[in-house]
């Protein structure tokens, strides 16, 4: 190789390295601000638009940047505080809600270096009004938004006119830009029972009495939205720079697939249960639990969830055991039966399989995160849901003898032995945690009943499709709250008409109870009704096996002053750093 050529090669190499060298981040951190670094799961946040947010991370951000009409108490989610509405009243017939919207909350935006108030053409600060809330709520229902959560106002709240508006489809060959179609759509839109009477008064009209309506008004999608901005920027209205918001925090940077930073909104003066934030900025990094936990151990994160595989070590570690916190989470882990498939077309077999599951063993040795063995479906702590304290004997639990008896009764009647049972498949999505629980329960059924069950682990999309098309004999799912009421669990999932009811189980008595409980406003009466419903669901008919109620397991650095939310979303405006 000639000298010249060698130089040439060297030159090319240097050039290549220059091209590919990652840009050096030259910014220097200012000293004083209080910052928090936290982790969201791997992958980009799907959206921070309240109308279309569905997952925990999206909802967390929208709750920080927008503020719902009503704000639940994070330590007791069934209790409600005033939010964007400072007060409310309900009409005599229980179907018209009137909200008094606060008049002193300004729209703000991130201008590239600071949070500023949004001014109108005359230079006056723009305030959040009842009209903005009307727009926001109607946008949730609008078929053009195609929001997943439109079903809540339509099906749960029975909001007047919502169903007609949401299910409106353009005639064949036309779309929503067609003037005639648009006119018809606008007519339906105007007929929806949400109305801004003036700048501070909002009326919401339902077609039925709904006992848990306040829980729904506390959801992240009952917020004010900036119509002008959304119409100008379309889908991109949530990007920092475009977005305007009004909650305690403002999104200042969104590095897609990497991180999101929120800074405090200095114009958020603070209201009951939502003070002006003490933390100046919060960065969420999009990381898997394992790398996030490593960051925490390296001292570069303030709070993270603890991966199951590290939990033993954390519990024993002298320092980290003090930083560990296990709090409830409003979700239920359960197995469902397809009640039309043998041998689970008989309640005795279903009860036997349910009683043969040692929930305490699973919680102690498999999941380990202080989960609570579940005797029924609706998570205690939800409004009107039974609790182990008031209903210690309710539902179903581990009972080997009982299980054997039930199964034997079935076998005797059919005149068969255990080996003659049809082959049984338990299906789940292929996630390590679910597989471990499945393997443990498979072993329990073998130990306690002598039944061999085949496990089938499926890819998530395939699994969901199977559940929708032809549910297998036994399958796993979990359910987490949308609003903190037993209605969301018992009626929302297992009423015979629910799309989430994959058991094929239909019981008219159950439907009647949950319907009546939904319209009742006295929580003591509702609790009694839900007890009856639970008894039907998990014991008499045993359509599902409740396994455990979730917890969240996290570690927090000792210099962080925090509250512990039970609702699945943190109220960071209450946090501080020493």
């Amino acid at each position: 190789m000639s000298l010249k050529r060698r130089f040439y090669l060297l030159f090319v190499l240097v050039l290549m390295m220059g091209l590919v060298a990652p840009a050096v981040n030259g910014t220097v951190m200012a000293q004083d601000p209080k910052t928090l670094t936290l982790a969201f799961g791997a992958g980009d946040i799907p959206t921070i638009d309240p109308s279309t947010a569905t997952d925990t991370t999206s909802v967390q951000v929208t709750l920080m940047t927008f503020f719902p009409l009503v704000r639940s108490n994070e330590e007791n989610p069934s209790e409600n505080f005033p939010g964007l509405a400072e007060s409310w009243s309900l009409s005599e017939d229980g179907m018209v809600w009137t909200f008094k919207i606060r008049s002193n909350i300004p729209w703000v935006k991130w201008d590239g270096s600071a949070v500023v108030e949004v001014k109108d053409a005359n230079g006056a600060t723009m305030m959040v009004t009842a009209k903005d809330v009307e727009y926001g709520a109607k946008r949730l229902i609008d078929p053009r938004t195609a929001s997943d959560y439109a079903y809540v106002p339509v099906d749960s709240l029975k909001l007047k006119g919502a169903g007609e508006f949401n299910s409106f489809a353009a005639p064949e060959g036309k779309d929503f830009t067609d003037p005639a179609v648009l006119e018809e759509l606008n007519k339906l839109r105007d007929a929806v029972g949400i109305k801004a009477v003036d700048d501070t008064t909002l009326q919401v009209e339902t077609t039925e009495k709904i006992g848990f309506a306040l829980g729904i008004f506390g959801m992240w999608n009952w917020v004010a939205l900036p119509q002008a901005v959304i119409e100008e920027f379309g889908d991109l209205w949530t990007e920092p720079g475009n977005a305007v918001s009004y909650g305690p925090f403002v999104v200042s940077e969104w590095k897609h697939d990497e991180s999101m930073t929120l800074v405090k909104n200095p114009f958020w003066a603070g209201i009951e249960n939502s003070p002006a934030p003490a933390i100046d900025s919060i960065t969420f990094k999009f990381l898997d639990t394992s790398p996030a936990f490593s960051e925490y151990e390296a001292g570069t994160m303030d709070m993270v969830g603890v991966p199951l595989s590290e939990l033993d070590r954390v519990k024993a570690d002298p320092a980290m055991s003090k930083e560990l916190f296990i709090g409830p989470n409003f979700c239920t882990y359960y197995y469902g039966f397809n009640v039309t498939k043998a041998p689970f077309d008989d309640a005795r077999v279903r009860r036997a399989f349910s009683m043969a599951v040692d929930r305490q063993d699973i919680v102690d040795n498999v999941t380990k995160g202080g989960q609570i063995p579940a005797r029924w479906f609706s998570r205690p702590g939800l409004a009107a849901a039974p609790t182990p304290e008031d209903s210690p004997e309710l539902g179903i639990g581990f009972d080997v003898e009982g299980a054997k008896k039930e199964l034997q009764a079935y076998l005797d009647e059919k005149g068969m032995t255990i080996d003659q049972l049809p082959p049984i498949t338990l299906m789940m999505n292929q996630v390590e945690g679910h597989i471990k629980i499945g393997e443990a329960i498979q072993a329990m059924w073998k130990e306690n009943l002598g039944v061999d069950v085949q496990l089938s682990a499926q890819e998530w999309g395939v699994f969901l499709d199977t559940l929708n098309q032809d549910p297998p004999q036994v399958w796993r799912l979990g359910w987490c709250l949308d609003y903190a009421d037993a209605d969301n669990f018992l009626k929302g999932v297992f009423r015979s008409t629910s799309g989430n009811n994959h058991t094929m189980w239909k019981n008219a008595e159950y439907d009647k109870i949950v319907d009546e409980a939904g319209a009742e406003t006295d929580n003591a009466k509702r609790l009694e009704m839900y007890r009856q419903a639970e008894e039907l669901l998990v014991k008499t008919d045993a359509a599902i096996i409740p396994i455990y109620w979730y917890t969240t397991v996290s570690v927090t650095k000792p210099n962080v002053v925090r509250t512990y939310s039970l609702s699945g979303h943190e109220y960071y405006e209450k946090w501080d750093k020493k």
């Binding site: 595989s309 024993a316 498999v366 499945g438 393997e439």
Partner: protein
Amino acid sequence: MAETARSTTHSKEAVPISLTETETQKSQGLWMEAFKRLRRNRMALVGLGIISVIVFCALFAEVVAPYPYDAQIRKDNNAIPAWLPTFFPTVKPKGVEGGYATVSDRYLLGADALGRDLFSRIIHGTRVSLAVALVGPLTSLLIGIILGSLAGFYGGWVDNLIMRIVDLMYAFPALLLIILMMAFFRSSFSQSEPGTLAFALNKVDSAFGGMLFIFIGIGIASWENMARLARGQTLSVKVRDFVLAAESIGMKKRAILMRHVMPNILGPLIVAETLAIPAYISTEAFLSFIGLGVNPPTPSWGSMIAVGAQGIRSFPNQAIFPALALALTMFAFNFLGDGLRDALDPRMRGVD
């Protein structure tokens, strides 16, 4: 290597080019002589020995393993043997400050998160992992050699068509195919009637943790390197004297392909496929990592590694021992592959 399913199809091992010099002779003599040379290669014999042990473990796992692979003692979850902290000082047994690991000498290498013996699971895991190591490569070898030699031998539009398909296969989204096959084979467990073909196939498949057909699928999706190699070999073989001679005595093209070309290109292809085996085993680990792995509770090295790596700081034994088993197997296949290549290399003849 072979981190994603799509990259497995491209990270094939060595393509030894020069094995084209195969000379005119009866293939049996060639193989005998090769075997003699192989016997003289010590490292290759070590590799062969290790592979034999692994095959033995796979065949007689029930006898070799001290416990069944799915026997759980859930109280012993994550138990470690007493000797482990000596080699991994970061693992703290219960009793010392910050100690978190249950010590139990019931388990040679420790127990997993459900209290199942790790050693027994590694032994049983040889079944899936060996199946993975053999089924995929055999499938791709079979397809690759047929299509590659056809392309090289006939040339023209046949060559053109096959090579365009090869180009397509390079970018083929194998992951989609895997999910499709998994959906098919794992959802029809309870649906097929005993006695039908579907039932029999499912039985076979579930014995391999639902991975058998997945790996046939991967083989189907990754024959392109084999085809390219086979084509190149065929191109050089078909202009050699013995092929020309066969042509001149009026032998039919198909007969020439079957009798003279195929046997003479097989050696290098087998070697290349041996060297590609590690990529297939890593693919299995990758599939477990993204949640498409072996069906529980069947153990496989890949899934044990993927699961154990999550907790490698707390319980390194759960990832490291299956990884060691994997590494040992890869060493063995590599030595054997190298030995085979040397043995089949005609220019090495008479060297030793």
